[in-house]
Every structure is written in C-alpha cells, then in structure tokens.
C-alpha cells in the first residue's frame, strides 16, 4: 500500500470515528421519517463576548408541523434544555409568528409547517478556547393528524475568534426567521394596541384587540393567544378598521359560574400586519379590563327588554290581523293592497324588535321569546282554521293570550344587566390592504 493511500485510509477512519459533534455553523441533522432538526448559528466565527444568535432548525415532511408556544388544542411546543458551556449565559428560545391549522373535529393546532428556525438568543462573556461547545436536549412533537414525540441531544461547535464572520448560507436563514419574530407593540412608532373583554354576555365574553397604525397585509391577519388560566379561546375574527385592524376572539370560561375578574392578563401575537410598508407581527402582554355588570342600573333601563318584547308582541298581533289570521273586532279594514304592504312593515318591525332584543336578553331568552311569538302565530292560524266558534277555538285564543303574556315575562327573566349592553363596535372602513 502506497503512502497516499494509507493517509487517505487514516483520514477516512478518522472521519467515520469522529463523534456526532459537528464543527462549524450547522450541527448535524437528527432525522426521522417526519422531520429533521439541528442547531445552527449565522457565524463562521464569533467574538468571545456579546449577544449571539442561534437557531433550532426544523425541516418537516409535507403535511407535518411543529408547535408555537401555545400549541392549540393538542400537542405541545418543543422543550429545549441547553447544556452548560463556559461563558455562555442561559439561552432563550423565541417564537416566530405561527400559523393556524384546522384539524378534524374542529380542533386547532398553532405552529409551523415545512420549515422553521426557532431563534435562540444567548449572551457570551469571557468564553475561552477555540470553540464554544453548544448542546441542547430537545423534546418535540411532530404532528400531521397523528403525532409522534421525539427526543434528541443536538450539538454544535461554534468557532470563537476576535472578529465576527458571518456564514453566507446560514446567516440569511437565521435572519429570515429572526425577522418573523413579533415586535413588542410599544416599540413601533405610531402603533397602538388596546384590548378589552366585552362581557356584555357573561356566558360568552369576547376579547377585542384593536391595533392602530399597522394595517392588514397581503396575508389575512391572525391573532394568537397564549394559554390563559381561566379562558378557552375560539377562532379569532379580524377586520380592518381605520388605519388598523380589530380582532375579536370568543372566549369561554373553563369553569362555569366562576365570576369574571375585573381585569385579567392576556398575552398575544398579532400576525399578517404591515407597518410603514414592512410586514410585521406584534406581541403584547396586557392587563385587560373586563367590561362586565355595573352595580347600579336605572329603572328605565331595566324595563327596556320588557318594553321591546311588548312591541314585538304587538307587531305580531298587528301582522296577524293585517293578514287576516286574527280578528281584532275592528269592523273597518284598510283595502287589500294597503293591508299587504302594512303586513310586511309589521313583519319588519318584528325583526327589528328581535334585533334590539338580542342586545338586551340572553341567547336562551331570545330563543324562548322567538318560540313564543311563533306559537302565537300557530295559535292564531289554528283558530282561523276552526270555522265554527267552539270550545276548541276558545282554547286556541287562550293559548295565544298565554303566549303573549309569557313573552314579556321571559324577557324579564332573561334580561342582561342594563349596563352590559353590547359595546358598539367600530365602524369597519373597507379599505384595501396596504
């Protein structure tokens, strides 16, 4: 065997015997059928002191995803424990703007598909030697419809030097995902976010987040809430309003009957926004006021659902009379055409009063009142069909009267406290996205 061949063989042996540690800007991939994961840094060489950026780089098979810090209904976010290294402060895993995935059974997953780099921030001070020995224990779950948990120990040797030198391949990748990190709302000039919980229906509160100074971009804006101790969140709705976006998220108390707090902390990331021509995501953590029942309410206010319901009952009776289903004892009736037209006006009045009632009574109350109005119509029709005035026909009239009396009673029982009436929402200006 010649000398060069011997050297080659020695080299090959050295390479194949080398431990799993990779030297350079990207660690070795830990691979499985659904995903690959590795540590990367944007530097070929980094100074021994200062902030450094790392990335936890996932590459995912089509259809599979990994999670945001709130994983949604199922799953869990990656858990990363970094190994100690000389001069390395505690690294912090950061969460770029996620996406929403809808699964069968109305379940939702929040996370990333295809590829994601979770940015990691760390501080270096007084690191010695030629390389920083980075290592991380990663537990993560990758899901399609099925979910598979994996656990790896990843490592990377980051060369240290006097001057920073970025790597042309990994630096843009890390930068791309670093750019997708949400910006603290307060830090952007001209951006203002406000939030309230609209608890005008105590059983169905709604979190309203208003962003001003950042418009909807080409992708639909999204709102992602962190896990809240007391509330489950439904699907957020976004609509443009003025120079910003309003998000509304239906909430549900996890424990029925638990009193609503006066204030509660919500943390969220708003995505798909454009600020000064640049795409941006915002994050905020706020003490959010809950607009719930005020203690005092004027008597005039509290009688409103009853008045509204009486109007609905009266319009129903009026419409029934106009359409000839009910004889109110009046001899003179307006001409046929006028009656038909008035009948539609009365029907419109019923719809309007029901709409007004929707803001004054609970969902259940409204359903009951509608049922009772429907029953009135049914009784009137039954009586109209009974040609002869018999005992049965009297029964129908009795039923109609009972229903008419039940409606205001139901309104009173199911009223919302007066001060809880729905906060008027901002008029949505239908402006094209910037």
């Amino acid at each position: 065997m010649g000398r060069p061949a011997l050297i080659l063989l020695m080299l090959l042996t050295a390479v194949s015997l080398a431990p799993g540690r990779a030297l350079g800007i990207a660690g070795e991939w830990a691979s499985n059928e659904q995903s690959r994961v590795r540590l990367i840094t944007p530097y070929r060489v980094t100074p021994r002191d200062g902030e450094i950026r790392l990335g936890l780089h996932f590459s995912l098979a089509p259809g599979w995803h990994v999670y945001w810090k709130n994983s949604g209904d199922a799953g869990f976010p990656p858990v990363v424990v970094f190994g100690k290294a000389e001069g390395l402060g505690e690294p912090e895993l950061l969460w770029p703007a996620p996406r929403r995935f809808e699964l069968p059974g109305d379940l939702v997953a929040l996370g990333y598909e295809k590829e994601v780099v979770y940015p990691v921030r760390a501080a270096l001070s007084g690191a010695t030697g030629d390389a920083l020995k980075l290592s991380a224990d990663v537990d993560y779950l990758v899901c399609e419809v099925d979910c598979i948990p994996y656990r790896y120990t990843l490592s990377l040797d980051q060369p240290l030097g006097e001057a920073a030198e970025t790597d042309p391949e990994t630096a843009p990748l890390v930068a791309t995902w670093w750019d997708r990190l949400p910006v603290t709302a307060e830090r952007l000039a001209g951006v203002d976010t406000r939030a309230t919980v609209d608890a005008s229906r105590p059983a169905a509160p709604v979190l309203e987040v208003r962003v001003r100074g950042a418009r909807a971009g080409s992708e639909p804006p999204g709102l992602f809430l962190e896990v809240h101790e007391d509330f489950d969140a439904g699907k957020p709705e976004a609509r443009p309003a003025g120079d910003g976006v309003v998000f509304r998220v239906p909430l549900r108390l996890r424990e029925a009957g638990k009193p609503l707090p006066a204030e509660t902390v919500f943390a969220w990331t708003a995505t798909g926004l454009v600020h000064q021509g640049r795409p941006v995501s915002l994050e905020a953590r706020r003490e959010v006021p809950v607009r719930a029942a005020a203690s005092a309410s004027a008597p005039v206010e509290t009688s409103r659902p009853v008045t509204t319901t009486l109007m609905a009952v009266a319009s129903t009776l009026f419409a029934l009379w106009l359409w000839g289903l009910l004889d109110l004892g009046l001899k003179e009736r307006p001409p046929h055409k006028v009656r038909e037209a008035l009948g539609f006006a009365a029907a419109a009045l019923i719809l309007w009063t029901l709409y007004a009632l929707a803001r004054q009574v609970t969902f259940e109350g409204l359903a009951w009142i509608e049922l009772v109005l429907l029953a009135m119509t049914l009784f009137a029709w039954l009586r109209h069909r009974a040609v002869r005035r018999s005992a049965v026909s009297f029964l129908w009239i009795l039923g109609l009267a009972a229903c008419a009396a039940a409606a205001p009673w139901l309104a009173d029982r199911n009223r919302l406290p007066a001060s809880l009436e729905t906060v008027p929402s901002v008029a949505a200006a239908a402006e094209p996205a910037a």
Binding site: S71, D73, A74, G75, F76, V79, L103, P104, G105, D106, L107, A109, D139, L141, C143, V145, D146, C147, I148, P149, R151, A203, A204, V227, R252, L253, R254, E255, A256, G257, K258, A319, W323, G324, L325, E340, G343, A347, L351, L354, F363, L366, A367, E370, L371, L373, L374, T377, W381
Partner: protein, 201 residues
C-alpha cells in the same frame, strides 16, 4: 287566503332560521352537568353514564395508536390511579373515527388492554358525538364527574407532556382531583390544558 298562508310559511321559515343560527351550548365545562351517554364497550356490553349515578366517574379519552396515550398505558399511569380509588368508576372512551388508520377493532383493543394491564372498560364513540359533547380534544383528555353528575375536573392527566420527569416527580391532576373529591374538598386545579395527540374525529 292562499297568499296569507305563504306569508305565514315565510314567517315560520324565518323564525326557524333564527333559531338554527343560535350558537351551540358550551360543553365539557367544569361546573356543568356531564352530558349523558350510552356507548358500547370493547367487551360488547353497553355502558350508560346514568348507570353510575351516585358514584364518582372518571372519563379518559384513549387511543392506543397515540404515543401519549400509549406511553401512559405502558407506564400504568391510569391503571394505578384507577386501582387507588376503587370507589370511583373509570371508563376509557375511544372516539377514533373508524375510517382513521389508527382505529382499533374491539378484539384488538381488548388484546391491547390485556397486554398493558388496562382493567377498566373502554367504550366506543365511533361517531365522535360524545367526544364533541364533552369537548374532548386530546388523547389522553381526562374528566372527573362527581356524585351529582357534574363535571368537576377537565384537563390533562399530569404536568409532564414530554414524559421526561420521573414518575414520582410528576403532578398527577386526576390523582389529586380524586383525592380532593373523595375528601369532599374542591378540586384545584379544576381545569388544566390537556396535552397529547388530537382526538381522531
């Protein structure tokens, strides 16, 4: 009269539509009455929630093909807690859609139960109706129902989604919950975020 009738039909339709648009009532919330069910077990028997009136009932959403559910079965997390509280009724419910590749036929499920030492009944909710009525999201997803038929716990089995902690270091919410319930104390926490695979509806 004919035109009157058609107007009446229109009104009827309108009212019907308004009613249909009302949102579905909240489900699986702590403090509410547990939705009733009657489901067939892998053992062929029929189980009804009403049969266990006056007893504390634990519901466990289970799927042997989910790594989380399977890990807890292998680690005997559920089996041990269910044995510790013999007075409580423990029911597994599998809401996997029969069209899902992870669906197990009753005989396979029974074999799995035997292999992993699951002694409690496992019920089939093939339509997913009961799972949705409870708002079951993950496997495992746990519910505790008190003697009055009210939901008193809704959430995860423990505080260790990755299964990384030592078994003794984990906080088992159902163990704690049953211990409080049996002692007549309020369960705290009464709700947690369940973790695991999504239920394969």
């Amino acid at each position: 009269m004919r035109s009157n009738r058609s107007i009446f039909t229109m009104l009827l339709l309108l009212a019907g539509l308004t009613l249909a648009a009302l949102p579905a009532l909240a489900t699986g919330t702590v403090g509410e009455t547990a939705p009733a069910f009657q489901l067939k077990g892998a053992d062929g028997k029929t189980y009804s929630l009403a049969d266990f009136k006056g007893k504390v009932v634990v519901l466990e959403w289970i799927n042997p093909n989910c790594p989380f559910s399977d890990r807890h079965a292998r680690e005997k997390t559920m089996t041990e807690v269910s044995k510790k509280y013999g007075k409580a009724v423990w029911l597994g419910i599998n809401s996997t859609n029969p069209n899902d590749s992870g669906f197990l036929a009753p005989a396979e499920h029974l074999a799995y139960n035997q292999k992993t030492g699951i002694a409690y009944p496992v019920l089939y909710d093939e339509t997913g109706k009961i799972g949705k009525a409870y708002g079951a999201k993950t496997t495992p997803h746990m519910f505790i129902i008190d003697e009055q038929g009210k939901i008193v716990y809704n959430g995860a089995i423990d505080d260790d989604p990755s299964g990384r902690k030592d078994k003794v270091a984990r906080v088992n919410y159902v163990d704690g919950g049953l211990s409080s319930e049996m002692a007549g104390r309020k369960i705290d926490p009464a709700s947690t975020k369940p973790y695991g695979c999504s239920v394969k509806y």
